[in-house]
């Protein structure tokens, strides 16, 4: 097998995944039009999103190698970039679907020609098994399924003739979109069950290293900590067939090295580059900087700490923050400003600019009215893992608050402890936070960040009206006449109470050199399917 010539390799074509390990090197021709090399600083630590400990970068495997029943549509944004379109749902594995009049029963018809990589057809039983798995294994997948009202295996039923049915406990506008996020992907249950054991009924061990899906790409090689090689599945029916036959995702931890590689054109795409590189490379390469949907970089003021219980103090800080300087120094102007908005709330756009802007006179006036006219001492906590934007931001805030007599000491917390301190125990008086919600509705953001005891409510914020309004709007259809007024009221309270002061909407930056077709997706991971090689 080692004697395979390059020509016979090319003839072998798609079967190459199997013989790949026996070749010393990939044929030179494969490097050209058919192969795309992507570098990323993150490491893929599992091929199974449902496993405990699977990191964010690994979600791309669920996107590229597996299919969901439905997916979001695509739209061109005003900037000319392509993005997912939350308002449109399109078929992926499901050919069509039907929602009962009471909104409680969702019935999906699975595409009859959909096949797993091993050639077996995708059946409703496979979908049921996969959904059962997602709601049963616990951890992140189960939490995400709950967001769409999917809690128990009994809610899923495999009917005859490739029909799959979901029964909801209550109608929810989040149910269908929640089926388009990476979590409810469809696994080849025959293969998985064959590799399950008594201790491991969901085949976590097996699928961790060996995906079994129907997606656009198969995994040809996975060298943990080094690279993942995707090989196109030519029988894919979930969408338009990818134009490249192989995508190599190479892990390069050093930013400087990644930049050298993309500038030299030895790789075609650098995923998730820092804002600074994006600003500097924008002239020579194709750089996409898409504001991340439903994500806000903000200052959290913990309302259980004395100075921040005083609304005047919170407003004083909101008027003192040097927004523009932070946007330029920490984000290099990438993303979207979220300050200096209109006083009046006329729409339900979110993330939205709050009606605060840097105005030291107003800041001083508010502080003078508060219980702390002479200022106070406070630590401002930042995560070392997110230091690239948090550190300059914290320093600028420190500098800006000094004239008010508010003495800020910047406290750096190692990445591993950040979650525990900021989100789980919520013990940081003043801190920076950057939650982003996958489901792109304002109520979903409020659910995670403004409701009592929710994980991302790092400010310990509690307001009875917000609780109630969030609960009411969360599952309400967006075209309900009551929806917009209720949201506006929620915005009003958030703007008045200020447990979180928005700074800007951060961007996801991607640089391309010799590739095209990039689309921004809310999960912020590489969707390799639409990518292609371009001549430049």
């Amino acid at each position: 097998m080692t004697l395979t010539t390059r020509r016979s390799f090319l003839k072998a074509g798609a079967a190459s995944a199997a013989i790949l390990p026996f070749l010393k090197s990939l044929p030179a021709a494969a490097q050209a039009a058919e192969t795309l090399v992507v570098v990323s600083g993150q490491t893929i630590n599992s091929l199974d999103l449902h496993r405990v400990g699977t990191n964010r970068a690994s979600y791309q495997v669920a996107v590229n190698c597996y299919d969901r029943l439905v997916t979001f549509g695509r739209k061109e944004m005003p900037s000319g970039e392509m993005s997912f379109d939350y308002s449109v749902l399109e078929p992926e594995l499901a050919e069509s679907w039907d929602i009962s009049d009471d909104g409680l029963t969702l019935t999906f018809k699975i595409k009859p020609d959909a096949k797993f990589w091993d050639g077996s057809p995708v059946t409703a039983e496979d979908v049921k098994w996969s959904f059962d798995r997602a709601v049963s294994v616990g951890g992140f997948p189960t939490v995400q399924m709950k967001a769409g009202g999917l809690n128990r295996p009994e809610q899923f039923a495999a009917l005859e003739d490739g029909t799959f049915q979901i029964t909801l406990d209550f109608p929810s506008k989040l149910a269908l979109p929640d089926l388009a996020v990476p979590v409810p992907f469809v696994i080849n249950s025959k293969v998985a069950i064959a590799n399950a054991t008594e201790d491991d009924p969901w085949a976590m061990e097996y699928l961790h290293t060996t995906p079994a899906g129907s997606g656009a790409f198969k995994v040809a090689r996975w060298d943990q900590g080094q690279q993942l090689v995707y090989q196109r599945n030519d029988d894919w029916v979930g969408g338009p067939l990818p134009t490249v036959s192989r995508v190599i995702v190479r892990e390069v931890p050093s930013q400087a090295t990644r930049r050298a590689l993309i500038e030299r054109g030895d790789v075609q795409m650098s995923f998730g580059i820092p804002d600074r590189d994006a600003a500097e490379l924008a002239d020579e390469l194709t750089v996409y900087s898409t504001p991340i949907a439903n994500c806000i970089n903000c200052v959290g003021l913990n309302t259980i700490f004395e100075p921040f219980r005083d609304p005047e103090v919170r407003k004083a800080i909101a008027f003192a923050i040097p927004y523009e300087a932070i946007f330029q120094a920490a984000a290099y102007g990438r993303g979207k400003p979220l300050w200096g908005g209109e006083e009046e709330i006329n729409d339900i756009a979110w993330p939205r600019a709050f009606p605060y802007a840097t105005d030291m006179e107003k800041a001083k006036a508010h502080l003078a009215n508060s219980g702390f006219p002479d200022g106070f001492d406070v630590p401002l906590s930042i995560s070392l893992g997110l230091a690239s934007w948090m550190e300059p931001t914290a320093l600028l805030i420190q500098e800006a608050l000094a004239p008010l007599g508010i003495n800020v000491t910047v406290e750096k917390i190692p990445g591993a402890n950040w979650r525990t301190a900021a989100l789980v125990e919520k013990t940081l008086p003043m801190h920076l936070e950057n939650f982003g919600g996958w489901l792109d509705t304002p109520d979903y953001y409020f659910f995670w960040a403004y409701q009592k005891d929710r994980l991302f409510n790092s400010s310990n914020y509690f307001n009875e009206e917000v609780e109630e309004l969030t609960n009411e709007t969360l599952h309400m259809p967006v075209d309900d006449p009551e929806y917009a007024p209720k949201l506006k009221r929620m915005f009003e309270i958030a703007i008045e109470d200020l447990p979180r002061i928005p700074l800007h909407q951060p961007a996801l930056n991607v640089a391309m050199n010799g590739a095209d077709g990039y689309e921004f997706w809310f999960h912020r991971q590489l969707d390799a399917r639409p990518l292609g090689r371009s001549s430049t």
Partner: protein, 341 residues
């Protein structure tokens, strides 16, 4: 000869308490880390309930003594545990990554010895000459330039500007497939497989990171060689040898250099141990899948089994290294024997 075997056996036996100490301390220290692995691994959206479920799954809900007994029990069976981060046995991870680090470190040390030792000797012999000054400049540069800077600089010059070096993409460019696994050292494995193409591809990838590390390790070795040579050259036995009319070559290499080797070997051992830990920065810059970056990722995630496995592997390595150095003393200097112990 059997006396020597007994001596080596005793020396090995001495390492046992060290290893037991390392096992205990690494266990306690990882638990003393402030992060909560259950919260970390439960994922971004986890609520209290799923964090608790994760804790049970990871076995962290059990009392600490029980966790320790289970850990030691597994250890005695050669099981280092399961890394949550990579989802694989720690032993597999280490077996894959340790050779990568060792290959890099050993080639760097070989390179730096080839340069530093002759340079040190020469500088000592021609004290105050241009060689001596060159040695001084190299040593100062080596000590004062941090490895990540040297690495990025070398990439900038040799890859970005000149295009001589291959893409800094780890152990092999993506167009090559790793050689069949025998030792885990790509150079050795590709040579064993008789695959010249992969061998040279590996070598090309190795040049820049090895040079970066070599520059860093060159300094202590060159300085120590120079100092040891100067001491040796000014000692009585050299004067005697010279007075006896021995040829300069014999004096220099037969007597001075051999005596100067002892402190150099000691330094080499120390350099090796700290480079193995310090090359994490070089690994990051050159996307080298080594053990340093593995340990750092494990630490960040409070991945207990992986951190403990790393510490233990390092401890074993250091113990072995010290043993080898002790044994090599006896080879270099017959006065140091094991009989005296």
């Amino acid at each position: 000869m059997s006396q020597r075997a007994v001596a080596v056996g005793l020396r090995v036996a001495q390492t046992l308490p060290v290893l037991i100490g390392v096992v205990l301390i690494s266990f306690l220290l990882t638990r003393a880390l402030p992060g909560d692995p259950a919260a970390y691994f439960a994922g971004v959206m986890a609520d209290a309930e799923s964090i608790e479920a994760t804790r049970v799954k990871l076995g962290l809900d059990k009392p600490m003594p029980q966790q320790f007994i289970m850990y030691v029990g597994d250890l005695l069976q050669g099981d280092l545990g399961q890394s949550v981060g990579t989802g694989r046995p720690v032993l597999t991870d280490l077996a894959e990554r340790l050779p990568a680090s060792l290959e890099l470190t050993l080639s760097a040390l070989l390179l730096s010895c080839l340069i530093a030792v002759p340079l040190g000797v020469w500088a000592a012999v021609r004290q105050g000459s241009w060689v001596d000054h060159l040695c001084r400049v190299l040593v100062t540069a080596g000590v004062s330039l941090p490895t990540f800077f040297t690495g990025v600089l070398l990439i900038y010059i040799f890859y970005y500007l000149l295009g001589w070096a291959p893409s800094p993409l780890g152990r092999l460019d993506f167009i090559y497939i790793p050689p069949p696994h025998v030792t885990g050292f790509y150079l050795v494995d590709s040579a064993l497989a008789g695959d010249a193409e992969t061998f040279f591809a590996t070598l090309r990838q190795l040049v820049l990171p090895a040079a970066t590390l070599a520059l860093f390790t060159l300094a202590p070795i060159a300085r120590m060689t120079r100092a040891a040579m100067l001491t040796a050259l000014s000692s009585d036995y050299i004067r005697t040898a010279r007075a006896a009319g021995l040829p300069p070559r014999k004096v220099l290499y037969g007597y001075a250099f051999r005596n100067a080797l002892l402190p150099v070997v000691t330094t080499l051992g120390m350099v090796f141990s700290f480079v193995l830990g310090a090359n994490v920065l070089v690994e990051k810059v050159f996307a080298w899948p080594g053990i340093g970056s593995y340990a750092v990722e494990a630490l960040v995630a409070s991945d207990y089994a992986a951190v403990q496995g790393f510490v233990l592997a390092m401890a074993v390595l250091f113990v072995l290294l010290n043993l080898i150095i002790d044994l090599s003393y006896a080879l270099i200097d017959p006065r140091i024997g094991f009989a005296s112990k």
